[in-house]
Amino acid sequence: MRTDGIRAERTIAHMARLIRMDGSGHTTLAEWSAADERAVEAAVSAFRDQLDAGYYAVVNEGEGRARQVDELPLDAELVILRRPIAGG
């Protein structure tokens, strides 16, 4: 039981997330790990849907850097979907 618990924690720790910033703060649209093909497929599908809906995807890379992405980076920990910005 104890071993299972540790394994479960590790699995959760390595789950990548696709989140969308929206009126609720943010919504988690997909979670995946590279080993789980079905979860990856679902994440890619959700990712494309959001891009089609006009969102942009960004991966924060630390040290004040972020990268705009057009394909779901499966190795990223967190992919954030944002709305376009414009001059006010």
């Binding site: 989140i19 910033m21 929206d22 009126g23 609720s24 703060g25 943010h26 942009y56 960004v58 924060n60 890379e61 630390g62 040290e63 004040g64 850097r65 972020a66 990268r67 705009q68 920990e77 967190l78 954030i80 944002r82 709305r83 376009p84 910005i85 414009a86 001059g87 006010g88």
Partner: protein, 230 residues
């Protein structure tokens, strides 16, 4: 867990590896007629703003002096002219300070959730400053940025001049911290593109904007000024 928080504080000078420039911000396509903002362009725009300020004030000053010399009884007119010379630059500075004006809050739950994400994106010092002022400080290649909900102020290296930009996420339902996170992520993705998309509201001396800011926000501008001098 900190998601990409800088290891040695939020005010580090960031540099892109040679040969790996950031992909342009997609929003720049909507303002294709604007030249991409760069170091040289910023300097030029700063000089133009200074010249404009001089053009708005010096003629009034000269006219006041001449009138007073010709006829001391014109003192009331001279007073009005000098008031114009003072008010016009002040209005511009006020417009610059307004880019950091806070917007109405969303529901408490949404604000809390958004704040959690924003907190994960920034370092400890920036988090503390945000808690005090509602603004996020971020160092870029062009200077030190103060990012608000609907705009940002760029404090140029040296800390004396600021450029105030109006820019916002196109979703009015977003909680405050998410509005900032939108701008922050866009800024981090492509700093020059971010400045290109944004509308320049003011450029001038930092002290001119500072005294037009609400007192609660002034520590953030002071921190950005100090970081820009380092």
């Amino acid at each position: 867990m900190s998601l990409g928080a800088p290891p040695d504080g939020p005010f580090r000078v960031e540099r892109w590896p040679v040969g790996h420039p950031p992909a342009p911000l997609p929003e720049t396509a909507a303002v294709y007629w604007r030249p991409r903002v760069d170091e040289r362009g910023l300097r030029r725009r700063g000089r133009v703003w200074t010249l404009t300020t001089v053009a708005h004030t010096v003629p009034y000053g000269i006219a006041s002096g001449v009138l007073l010399w010709l006829e001391p009884l014109t003192a009331p007119v001279v007073f009005a002219l000098l008031a114009h010379a003072w008010v016009i630059p002040e209005l511009y500075a006020k417009r610059g300070a307004n880019v950091l004006r806070r917007r109405p809050r969303s529901g408490a739950g949404a604000e809390r959730t958004a704040l959690g994400l924003l907190g994960d994106l920034i370092g400890h010092e920036a988090r503390a400053l945000h808690a005090r002022t509602g603004l996020v400080i971020e160092r870029g290649a062009l200077g030190v940025w103060l990012v608000g909900e609907a705009g940002a102020i760029l404090v140029r290296l040296g800390g004396r001049r600021v450029h105030c930009w109006c820019v916002r996420a196109q979703d009015p339902s977003l909680p405050s911290a998410d509005r900032i996170a939108h701008l922050l992520l866009a800024l981090r993705s492509d700093e020059q593109g971010f400045a290109t998309v944004a509308n320049l509201a003011f450029s001038g001396a930092r002290w001119r904007v500072r005294r037009r800011l609400p007192p609660a926000l002034r520590p953030a501008l002071d921190a950005a000024g100090a970081a820009a001098r380092r």
